[in-house]
């Protein structure tokens, strides 16, 4: 493994182990200096990047779980009194949600609790029986499935979505590839129908982010992700929050809820209406 590839892998692994960006930069810089001076192979000196990163994280006493200092900005999404009925059964009953710039809201609930329905209503893809949604800024939406064109490759998707956002071809491709790199993915020149489920979801997620929308609605976007990509995904979400985006994530995985700002539990809503 060459030095640069090893250092890049180390950066990703440190991030996955919860090591903060400052410390990651410091560790990587030290390792790079050592490798340059010694001229030795990184695998011989430090071992595989994942093993070295784990050792660094362990020496720090576990992942950095301190929430960064944040000051939520203006309201970006305000859903008021959202009610939806299907065949006489109330799925959503007067649901309210306010998300400000720099906040993450997790929408949780059992299967059939109406999580995706709520998100589709927030995106304006579905009409509620009652209630309103106000969005301040541009919307980005990542559906649970679908949302890609079978016969187009990732670059062509970037150009297509980018044109809608007013981006030129080269800019859209660059932005798409940068978004993909953050998920440790290099988009191939392969049509979407040949991509695996997890890779297609990466494409879906990158498309939602294209053009830097102010509000991101993500409907279980990590389906099919492996563990590393799943961790990369959450780190990206936190980074977007720190950049002032308002993010709503539908999830049924509760282990990340301590790192979000708002939790909307739709199971409680259903129990209330039962």
């Amino acid at each position: 493994m060459k030095d640069n590839a090893w250092l890049a892998a180390l950066t990703g692994e440190l991030r996955r182990h919860g090591v903060g960006p400052d410390l990651t930069g410091h560790v990587v810089a030290e390792a790079a200096t050592h490798l340059a001076e010694s001229g030795e192979s990184p695998l011989r000196v430090f071992g595989p990047p994942e093993v070295y990163a784990r050792a660094v994280a362990d020496s720090l006493g576990g992942p950095d779980v301190r929430p960064p200092r944040r000051h939520p900005g203006p309201v970006r999404l305000a859903a008021r009194g959202i009610t939806k009925r299907y065949r006489g059964q109330t799925v959503l009953d007067r649901i309210d949600l306010t998300v400000r710039a720099g906040q993450i809201a997790a929408v949780v609930g059992a299967n059939g609790a109406g999580k995706s329905t709520f998100l589709r209503i927030c995106a304006g893809l579905l009409s509620p029986d009652a209630g309103t949604v106000q969005v301040h800024g541009a919307l980005g939406y990542c559906p649970q499935d679908g949302g890609t064109a079978e016969f187009l490759d990732p670059d062509e998707h970037f150009v297509l979505i980018g044109a809608g956002r007013g981006l030129g071809r080269a800019t859209a491709r660059r932005a798409g590839r940068a978004g993909a790199a953050a998920l440790d993915w290099t988009p191939p020149r392969t049509q979407a129908r040949h991509l695996s489920g997890g890779t297609r979801q990466k494409l879906n997620l990158v498309l939602a982010r294209l053009g830097e929308p102010d509000v991101l609605l993500l409907d279980e976007p990590y389906q099919g992700f492996d563990r590393g990509t799943y961790l990369d995904f959450w780190h990206e979400v936190w980074r977007w929050r720190d950049a002032g985006k308002a993010i709503v994530v539908v999830t049924h995985l509760l282990n990340q809820l301590d790192r979000v700002d708002i939790v909307l539990d739709l199971t409680a809503s259903q129990e209330r209406t039962a």
């Binding site: 927030c122 995106a123 304006g124 949604v133 939406y141 949302g147 297509l160 809608g164």
Partner: protein, 227 residues
């Protein structure tokens, strides 16, 4: 304009990458042509034009259905429904023109003593009508099978009904038989005028209906206000 062209380019790429579909599309009208080539040359022209219309409508129906999953996302990404419809229409019209070209050459080579200009006009109108017709079916009938059955019924009726009866004028490809008679049998220009009028009316009406259907389906819902 850029958005329309990007949608058209993407739609064209998607279509051109379905190679098997393209081959069937190309050969389908040939089967119609050859079916009457032996006994009645003029009839083979009428049949090939109907075959072109059927093939193109089917292609448009399936392209429209395939795009349904992606369109809401495109709408949220800044496209208007008009961009999406016009882009797709442009792509399919281009495919239609490419599809008709070899058949026009075939008729030029194989058929004599016919009005070639009128035949070209039938093909132009066929492309103009068939594409929005297929897209409209995909908009109204979201399941492909239902749309295909309706298409089959319409084209079947078009082939078996007496073109002289008033009811057949309500069918989208009636102009093809009418102008075909003018082109093959050298009848008076009344056939041409009636056919041209019916074809133009259907092309414009179907295109407007496709635009309207997309505007309704992809409208911004009333509960959502984007500031």
């Amino acid at each position: 304009m850029t958005r329309i062209l990007v949608v058209a380019e993407s739609a064209l790429r998607e279509l051109l990458r379905r190679r098997t579909v393209l081959i069937i599309l190309l050969l389908f009208p040939l089967a119609f042509y050859l079916s009457r080539r032996g006994d009645h040359l003029g009839q083979s022209i009428r049949f090939v034009c109907l075959g072109l219309g059927w093939a193109l409508s089917t292609a448009a129906l399936f392209a429209g259905s395939a795009a349904r999953g992606m369109e809401p996302r495109l709408r949220l990404s800044g496209y208007r429904s008009m961009h999406l419809v016009l882009g797709r229409l442009l792509a399919l019209w281009a495919v239609g023109a490419l599809l008709c070209a070899p058949y026009f050459v075939l008729i030029l080579v194989d058929q004599h003593d016919v009005r070639y200009g009128a035949i070209a006009l039938i093909m132009v109108l066929t492309v103009a009508v068939a594409v929005p017709f297929g897209l409209l079916l995909s908009a109204v009938l979201p399941r492909e099978l239902e749309g295909t059955l309706v298409l089959l019924t319409v084209v079947g009726l078009q082939m078996v009904m007496d073109p002289a009866s008033t009811a057949t004028r309500a069918l989208p490809f009636w102009f093809s038989r009418e102008i075909g008679t003018y082109a093959v049998d050298h009848t008076d220009s009344g056939y041409l005028t009636r056919g041209l009028t019916q074809g133009l009316v259907f092309a414009v009406a179907l295109t407007l209906l496709v635009v309207a259907a997309a505007a309704v389906r992809l409208r911004q819902r009333r509960h959502l206000r984007i500031a």
